[in-house]
Symmetry: C2
Subunit: 154 residues, 2 copies
């Protein structure tokens, strides 16, 4: 895969999904945000074939979402682990938004298996639009403005 | 498709992606957030086949993300249009998060084709975690807590 797959769209939602929107990719990022780094750990968590997982990880490395590092345990061969870059960590609000939306609208009978909590208070957090000073902004105060390049092709 | 496809995972990110994660689905929601309602308009925007588009819209209706309404223009046959439900509108922060992340990390050479602006100031907005009182919370103050059901299967 090359950057060419991004070239067709001026829409940054489409470009983000070109990198992140394949099956498993956002779940890899979910696991990495919980501290997972090893290929085998992702494979067991996702129950996905090694070829597919390697493809998704390669895409994430190629586009700067994850970094690949070698490590070696005593007596074992060298292996690779994967860490989120700063760009990857910035996807936390997107993953958090999907988690909170799922708990609101597709709830699990036994309650949430994962929660995102305010470290200071232990209370659930939300995801919201904020203004440039960091103050929360009601959704109806957010204007969606299309510039010259729109409508874009996906 | 039935709710059964959701039953395998206690993780709400996985459940959200079971409904939202297929190709085109988040782009349909992107367009709907900009006011698009008609089947033909989605089809032209996404350049996707009618069968695939109908499948994605059916899923969104089935899971309460969109509602289907009939309308009829004079002299024409009845057609259907699609509107986001309140649950669907709550995906705006997820779409906004993907747009802003794409503009930050996969920028388009000619600049963003879509911007989300603070209606009061005309300045770009961000997406962030906020606490239960709506105050923004730095990402490092958000704890990810796994409960009994975790690790979940995707």
């Amino acid at each position: 895969m090359t950057i060419a797959r991004l070239a067709g769209s001026s829409c940054s939602v489409s470009r983000s999904l070109a990198v992140l929107g394949e099956r498993w990719t956002l779940l890899i990022i979910r696991d990495a945000l919980s501290g997972m780094t090893k290929f085998e750990a992702f494979r067991e968590s996702l129950r996905v074939g090694s070829d597919v997982l390697a493809d998704r990880l390669n895409t994430l490395v190629e586009f700067g979402v994850m970094e690949r590092h070698s490590y070696q345990e005593p007596g074992a061969r060298a292996r690779e682990e994967y860490h989120l870059t700063e760009a990857g960590r910035q996807l936390h609000v997107v993953i958090g938004g999907l988690q909170i939306w799922g708990d609101d609208h597709l709830p699990w009978p036994a309650g949430p298996s994962t929660e995102r909590l305010d470290r200071r208070t232990g209370r659930p957090v939300r995801v919201a639009f904020v203004d440039e000073d960091g103050r929360p902004l009601p959704e109806e105060k957010v204007d969606v403005i299309h510039n010259n390049g729109y409508p874009s092709r996906p």
